[in-house]
């Protein structure tokens, strides 16, 4: 539980951080809240020679809501996501999900940027951002670019972010008026999901007018299930539609066995989480 040795850097601006990342190369990692990276370093599963701490970078933390659009700085902690009243108004799904991440101690340190950039399929925010159709701003030596959350994740710890890029901001549209739910089964507080479902939906005249469905920890990356959403849209969210959505979602996920249970159990729970999330979202729509 002792990390290898490393040099510590504490840049003051994003540009400076990006320069450091670029110049130090492969052996460098940025550290945000440290609550994914440092455990990995203690297990020596990660052994960066340089740690570039983003805590001192100005302007990377904060939440801005205006005209229904939400922008969140990468260094915003999960605790801040829970506490922010404007965010709770514009996108209550984020608060609901953040409350189910880890425990209060971890949430004081862990950041949204770290959670998203990490690339661990167990993280909750990536699935959530698929559901919200968020866009990520990446700052690299060549400047900034945007990548859609739904196009960001390739596999475990494999993302669209280049090694010399820093995730600076997350943007998405608020979902005021939509029904929402984040349903997560876990073994205990502080555990990653056995299975989790993020659902947004709009109802019109008793029928589902729009839906978005994403699943967490059921593949090597977060799963945005367009097919599940399609199965819901147009339906009164009756049993047949739910069955169809679950079946469609099952086609998109690919869970693996671990200490949480075997594949068939995870598939079953994924279905239960989706059903419950749809029911709760519908009750709020």
């Amino acid at each position: 539980m002792i990390p290898g040795s490393f040099d510590y850097h504490r840049p003051a601006t994003v540009q400076e951080a990006a320069r450091l990342v670029a110049s130090l190369g492969e052996d460098a990692r940025v550290v945000a809240g440290g609550h994914s990276l440092i455990p990995m370093m203690k297990l020596r599963m990660a052994a960066p020679a340089h740690l570039i701490d983003l805590q001192g970078v100005e302007g990377l933390a904060g939440i801005a809501v205006s005209g229904g659009e939400v922008r969140i700085g990468a260094m915003t902690t999960q605790h801040m996501l829970i506490e922010d009243a404007a965010l709770a108004q514009a996108a209550p799904l984020v608060r609901e999900a953040a409350l189910q991440i880890a425990d209060p101690q971890v949430r004081y340190m862990g950041t949204i940027g770290g959670n998203l950039a990490n690339g661990d399929p167990g993280n909750d925010m990536p699935g959530l951002m698929q559901c919200l159709d968020a866009a990520f701003t990446l700052v690299g030596p060549e400047g900034a670019r945007q990548v859609r959350a739904r196009e960001f994740y390739f596999g475990a710890y494999d993302t669209a972010r280049a090694e010399d890029e820093i995730l600076s901001e997350i943007a998405f549209s608020g979902h005021a008026g939509a029904g929402y739910a984040y349903e997560k089964q876990k073994r205990k507080i502080g555990d990653y999901a056995t299975a989790a479902a993020a659902v947004l939906l709009r109802m019109e005249g008793g029928r589902c007018a729009a839906a978005s469905v994403a699943m967490t920890n059921l593949a090597d990356r977060p799963i945005f299930s367009q097919a599940a959403a399609d199965a819901l849209v147009g339906s009164p969210l009756d049993a047949a539609a739910l069955d169809a959505a679950v079946a469609a979602m099952q086609g998109d996920i690919a869970p693996g066995a671990d200490t949480r249970g075997p594949v068939e159990f995870k598939r079953h729970v994924a279905g239960v989480m989706l059903r419950r999330a749809v029911a709760r979202a519908a009750s709020r729509a």
Partner: protein
């Protein structure tokens, strides 16, 4: 004059003696982060040691290359078995009469086994160097299943025992067999079962788990080359035993070894045994001439230092048609891992598992336990229990529930029908124990009334109907357990560990101004000894508990004792405390009589003083007596007021309790929501009700963890899959239910103050209670038994297997 004497009740209350919910004196430092644990010890020139551990569960160690590791700046030495062999320290004896490799001697037998010990100036250099020690392994076939380990062509694990057909506990019939321990009358039991009206039969696994104390194991060894004295600070539940064993292993004279257990952050049996880390630290300190610290990390602790349980219990229980139990048969396949390192009394290789007739009057019984080697870590310690009592209680409490199903009887009714009656105590069990006291019917009836048992069953029936109508997806389970423990090991005539008798001790010194210090052979790891032992003494000698210091854990100052585990502190050292107190009181009586100028027999003890019989206004307080003891020449008496008592208990004590819980089981997710827990404990005389309640809360929480998810699991290759707290279940406050505690009081007839011990009861009774509740929920669908732990997926699997997922 008379009015000036405060009433006896007020004076007794001021003592904060027996029965007082006195606040824990330890908490002042613990709640402020001021405890002093092993890892807080910092000595001049201290260096650090840590292990290179085997990634394989079974492999030959072909070679170890230290070169690259030795080149790391700050690295002082890398020790291997080859370095220890000339000292004869590459192997060490275990407490169970086996031997264990200190460092891999040619092969490794489990993942995480110690292969080399790196000593460096600091932890960081140590950790860097560990990565650079090149070990060449040749993988061997792995056996993690004890049944497969006993197959004729199973791989030979312990090559060092080749040809040894006799082990520490009798004949070995196979190369991976350790012992067969048999109790009771096999032929008679089998005859009863063969002719019985009803027989219930089941294989019950109490899975492998781990005590996982908050503080891991560790030590600091410091060999002073000038005085020749070795000081060893460590997380030891039995410091004196460690000193004696260290002396026997190392050849250092016992007076030249000082063992100190500082504050200990929980033990639960994990800190009873002797570990390679201790031996290597001592050797390293001798070699380097510098103090050496070794402290496990969490993964080391979970993977390598003593596990608990792993008993496969095949049971048969026979009864008449109307539910009178007539016989009990049990065979255990006990998975001990790579070495037999259980910490049981020597004559009991399966501990007190033969308490498995439980609280019932069972005329005839048989138990056979086969100990088996596998490619898993050694241990098999008493995790918050007295030597396999948890296994025994789980076995009988499951078997009784299963028998109830077979008989179509309510499980409580079956228990009430078979309890040992109050008038049968002292009761001789079919497996050889003499239960000292009990009143099971009263306790059970009190529990049933408290939870409204009938009401719960009615509610359960309603909910079942709702489930069947498709209105709900959750099932209600009611879990009942009634346990009897056997604690307080123990009488020296049959209880010893490696020949060390299991008495315990207390030494008291009263200071001239009437305060006192008491030293004991035990060591608190969170039990609150400094609080409760002072209370015992306060009531015995009339000095306020607040004026009594209790000190434990330093072998240079404390009297010899066998330490704290198996709920033995109160039954044994607590008794020694009372007996030493009585010696003090006897001398005080003589002093008081002298001071009051009357005959010894004319004074009587009254709370905090001796008074003249019939003239209570003429008295001497204990404070006055203490001063006189030191400062007044009393003819025929030596000065001073001190006493020591070594207490060899005449029998064990037998705490018992009735536990009931209510659980809602979500059949779709496997999530079990414990909505009510009621625990009635009878631990005899209650010393500090608040501490009892705390112990019960803690033990129930551990029981919940064990029953519902906590395990040390291995994959087929012998890799530990639950080696971190992400996967090894420790409940947080969120998962911990609310507890209702209750009690009856049936004092032990042979203990000086009637106390029986309570720290472990809730773990013993809690596990069957929680497990029985899960089984009870599924009973209407035909379930009789399913193995623990009842984590989400396994509960889901039960529901799935019963066709509840449509």
């Amino acid at each position: 004059m008379n009015e000036m004497i405060p009433p006896a009740g007020d004076r007794a209350a001021a003592l904060k003696g027996l029965g007082s919910s006195r606040k824990r004196v330890e908490d002042v430092r613990f709640t402020q982060g001021k405890g002093a644990y092993v890892d807080d010890i910092k000595l001049k020139d201290m260096v650090f040691g840590d292990f290179v551990r085997s990634p394989y569960a079974h492999a030959r160690v072909v070679s170890v290359n230290k070169e690259a590791a030795l080149a790391v700046p700050g690295v002082i030495a890398v020790l291997t078995a080859e370095d220890l062999a000339p000292l004869g320290l590459h192997w060490m004896p275990t407490l169970a009469g086996d031997r264990q490799m200190v460092l891999a001697d040619g092969k490794v037998l489990y993942q995480g086994q110690e292969v080399a010990f790196v000593v460096a100036e600091n932890r960081y250099a140590c950790a860097d160097a560990i990565e650079l020690v090149e070990v060449d392994y040749e993988a061997l076939p792995v056996v993690t299943d004890p049944f497969k380990a006993l197959e004729p062509d199973a791989p030979v694990l312990r090559e060092d025992l080749a040809g040894k057909t006799e082990g520490a506990h009798g004949p070995r019939r196979h190369h991976n067999h350790i012992f067969l321990w048999e109790q009771g009358d096999r032929a008679a039991t089998e005859a009863v079962i063969d002719g019985a009206d009803v027989v219930a039969e089941e294989r019950i696994h109490y899975h492998r788990t781990h005590p996982c104390p908050l503080e891991t194991c560790g030590c600091v060894a410091s060999m002073d080359k000038i005085t020749g004295k070795l000081t060893l600070w460590g997380t030891f539940q039995a410091p004196h035993a460690v000193r004696t064993v260290a002396s026997l292993i190392s050849g250092i004279a016992e007076h030249n070894i000082r063992v100190i257990s500082p504050d200990i952050g929980g033990g639960f049996g994990n800190k009873v045994g002797v570990y390679p880390g201790y031996v290597c630290s001592i050797v390293a300190s001798i070699v380097t001439g510098r103090p050496v610290k070794w402290v496990e990390d969490r993964m080391d602790n979970l993977m390598t230092t003593a596990f608990a349980r792993d008993y496969w219990m095949d049971g048969r229980i026979a009864a008449t048609k109307d539910g009178r139990i007539t016989g009990l048969w049990c065979h255990v396949t006990a998975d001990h891992g790579g070495f037999d390192a259980c910490a049981d009394p020597t004559k009991f290789p399966a501990g007190f598992f033969n308490i498995c007739t439980g609280s019932y009057d069972i005329p005839v019984a048989y138990v056979g336990v086969d100990g088996v080697y596998t490619n898993k870590a050694p241990g098999g310690v008493a995790y918050r229990c007295s030597f396999r009592v948890t296994e025994a209680a789980y076995f009988i409490e499951r078997m009784v529930d299963i028998l109830a199903i077979k008989l179509g009887m309510d499980p409580v009714e079956l228990r009430l029908k078979n309890f040992i009656r109050k008038d049968q105590f002292p009761y001789h069990s079919a497996l050889g124990w003499e239960y000292d006291s009990g009143d099971y019917h009263t306790a059970m009836e009190q529990a049933l009334a408290a939870v409204d048992y009938k009401g719960l069953r009615a509610e359960q029936a309603e909910r079942l109907e709702a489930f069947k109508r498709g209105e709900s997806r959750s099932l209600m389970g009611v879990g009942v357990a009634f346990f009897t423990e056997i604690v307080g090991a123990g009488p020296v005539k049959n209880c010893d560990i490696l020949g060390l008798g299991m008495f315990d001790s207390c030494e008291i010194r009263i200071h001239p101004t009437g305060s006192a210090i008491a030293r004991l052979g035990t060591i608190s790891q969170g039990q609150g000894h400094a609080t409760t032992f002072a209370q015992i003494l306060a009531s015995e000698i009339g000095i306020p508990a607040d004026d009594i210091t209790v000190e434990e854990g330093d072998t240079d100052t404390a009297p010899y004792g066998l330490g704290t585990y198996g709920s033995r502190s109160t039954p044994v050292a607590g008794a020694a405390t009372a007996m030493a107190g009585r010696k003090i009181r006897a001398k005080a009586q003589m002093i008081a009589a002298y001071l009051l100028e009357v005959h010894d027999d004319d004074v009587e003890f009254d709370v905090d003083r001796f008074q003249i019989k019939g003239a209570p206004e003429r008295f001497k307080t204990m404070k006055e007596i203490a001063f006189a003891a030191y400062n007044q020449a009393i003819p025929g008496l030596e000065p001073g007021l001190e006493a020591v008592s070594y207490y060899d208990p005449p029998n064990m004590t037998y705490p018992f309790g009735a536990y009931i819980c209510v659980m809602d089981v979500d059949v779709d997710t496997g999530v079990c929501d414990v909505r009510r827990v009621y625990a009635l404990d009878d631990c005899g005389t209650r010393i500090n009700p608040m501490i009892i309640e705390g112990q019960v809360h803690g033990g129930l929480t551990e029981a919940l963890a064990i029953a519902m998810g906590q395990e040390i699991a291995y994959d087929e290759d012998g890799n530990v899959t639950t080696g971190t707290l992400m996967d090894f279940f420790i409940p947080t406050a969120v998962e911990t239910p609310h507890y209702e505690t209750d009690h009856t009081v049936t004092p032990s007839p042979h203990h000086p103050i009637g106390a029986k011990g309570v720290g472990e009861s809730p773990n013993v009774g809690g596990v069957p209670m929680f497990s029985n509740a899960v089984m009870d929920a599924f009973k209407p669908f035909g379930l009789t038994h399913a193995h623990m732990p009842h984590d989400h997926w396994r509960v889901w699997r039960i529901a799935n297997g019963l066709g509840l997922h449509g």
